[in-house]
């Protein structure tokens, strides 16, 4: 019937309903203020939760496919903002082709290929294709940019999909499935973003990294880390096989590296000279703006829990 995951989603829907009501109330009470951004942001959250729900509650193949599509859109967004050379157009098509292949390794649970395909094979083969085209002006930069993009948007994100392959385990609160691990990772990463933002807004005073991201403060980071770690400790028994100590460490891992992922993508955007990575998600910016924390937390959380429990 209904398992932990269904109840968890009901919880998220409840939070969203509250958020929507609060926003509607704010709009009615303060008609002179502009709440368009906030309204769009929450609307997009509804859509994201819907996709997330479909991904995790249906077939595993559906889940892997949806995450593959997410990688596709993220890589496309990356290439749309990063400088590319016209000569590399054919190479880019091959790079895109690596996406369904990588997710094939995920879908068939072939760990060996999943873990080396992009860092070894794609890394070696794409520059070979570039040499065949022969355009050496800007060669190093193009090869570096392309590999970096694939590692960030495909290799990293595919770790979240591989979590689905973790065998089911029994725990005190029921069966722990791969889907629950994905839920845990995603919810903590996103809550971390929101918590750091809110704590920063309330108490933010000491800027941590003004050259890259002027809005990040020590108070925001610490507040977010505490919130996320608390939540990680609370949710672990229901969604993961972790004991309390490991859960706390997982919380610290996700909250710290979620922050790092965010500022790394910010550094890239600063380098290119843009504010948002795109406009796919109304109220949030581009898909990379939403996924940035996940590019760090996915592989790190995966290897952490894979090593300790699987």
């Amino acid at each position: 019937m209904f398992n932990t995951l269904h109840y968890a989603f009901a919880g998220i829907v409840a939070v969203l309903v509250i958020a929507s009501i609060v926003t509607a109330t704010l709009i009615r009470l303060h008609p002179e203020k502009n709440y368009v951004e906030l309204k769009l942001r929450i609307q997009t959250w509804w859509w994201l939760v819907a996709v997330f729900f479909i991904a995790l509650t249906l077939d595993r193949t559906v889940a892997v496919t949806i995450i593959a599509i997410v990688s596709f859109m993220a890589f496309k967004e990356f290439l749309s903002i990063a400088p590319t050379r016209r000569a590399d157009n054919k190479v880019l098509l091959w790079a895109y082709f690596s996406i369904p292949v990588q997710y094939l390794w995920v879908g068939t649970a072939w760990y060996g290929m999943f873990i080396i395909f992009i860092p070894v094979f794609v890394f070696l083969l794409l520059p070979m294709r570039m040499v065949m085209i022969g355009e050496t002006q800007g060669y190093l930069r193009a090869a570096g940019t392309l590999q970096w993009g694939l590692m960030t948007t495909v290799f990293s994100i595919s770790h979240m999909a591989y979590l689905l392959n973790m065998p089911a385990r029994q725990s005190a609160h029921g069966t722990i499935t791969g889907e629950m691990l994905v839920f845990y990772l995603l919810v903590l990463t996103q809550i971390n973003d929101i918590a750091q933002y809110l704590w920063g807004k309330m108490l933010g005073k000491h800027k941590i990294i003004p050259k890259v991201s002027p809005n990040k403060t020590a108070e925001g980071l610490v507040g977010g880390m505490l919130t996320t770690t608390l939540l990680a400790w609370l949710l672990a028994p229901w969604f993961t096989p972790m004991n309390p100590l490991h859960a706390v460490l997982a919380g610290l891992l996700i909250s710290l590296f979620g922050f790092i992922g965010d500022v790394v993508i910010s550094a890239v955007k600063r380098d290119i000279g843009i504010k948002d990575s795109g406009s796919l998600l109304p109220g949030h910016g581009g898909i990379l703006d939403r996924l940035d924390s996940l590019t760090y937390t996915s592989p790190l959380f995966f290897h952490y829990i894979y090593y300790l429990y699987y």
């Binding site: 016209r86 948002d276 796919l280």
Partner: protein, 218 residues
């Protein structure tokens, strides 16, 4: 009967080819879509960098309006083979423009005039040809002659960014990139040819700026 069949073919083309390529494979962000005319007669003047341009423009209109939207295209290119000719006329729905026809004594725009008389939405590329990716060439005078015949018909400028990068001249497989489109306010015929051309070019340049990603705001 034949007209109905042709309309169905054109709509099928948009649903089966234009939508998947433009909306899923590429991805599109449109500014000021409401400025686009959905009923004729109207002229849509867009920049030209790729064969994807016409697919993208078609995807902007509601499906029911498609049979009324016709792109002006060079007869010497699209009538090269009988199959291509049939496909261009019946599936894409082009209005043939005979390039260099002025020399032979016939007005190259004669079919365009007919289309506008019938109340169609005519899509035209004033640059005349696909130029270098993401660069705008000089606008040809044909658009002024066209507008002169129909001074009440709005000329709607549209700028598309990213298609030349995705599938430039010489390429046949589109590389997935996000595409940005900006629709401008309508322009009407002006008596001075250069003034009109300059005004149109200026509008297109301003729209081009709108399609670039927003820079860091401090």
């Amino acid at each position: 009967m034949q007209k109905c069949f042709r309309s169905m073919l054109r709509m099928l083309f948009v649903v089966c080819i234009a939508y998947p390529v433009v909306l899923l494979w590429l991805g599109i962000h449109v500014r000021h879509r409401e400025r686009l005319a959905v009923k004729g007669a109207a002229i849509v003047a867009a920049n030209h960098n790729s064969h994807l341009d016409i697919l993208t423009l078609l995807s902007l209109f509601p499906l029911s309006a498609i049979p009324n939207v016709q792109p002006a295209a060079a007869a010497d290119y699209f009538f090269k083979t009988p199959l291509l000719r049939w496909f261009s006329l019946n599936v894409i729905g082009i209005i043939p423009v005979v390039r260099g026809g002025a020399r032979a004594g016939e007005d190259p725009l004669i079919e365009c005039y007919r289309a506008l008389e019938q109340g169609r939405i005519l899509v035209i590329f004033p640059e005349g040809t696909r130029g270098e990716p993401e660069q705008m060439a000089e606008l040809k005078a044909g658009i002024w002659h066209l507008a002169k015949r129909f001074p009440q018909v709005p000329v709607i400028p549209v700028y598309m960014h990213g298609l030349g990068k995705s599938m430039p001249k010489g390429s046949w497989i589109p590389v997935p990139f996000f595409v940005s489109v900006a629709v401008g306010k309508a322009l009407y015929w002006m008596e001075e040819k250069q003034e009109f051309i300059d005004a149109l070019k200026d509008r297109l340049y301003k729209l081009k700026l709108k399609t670039q990603p927003t820079s860091e705001v401090q």
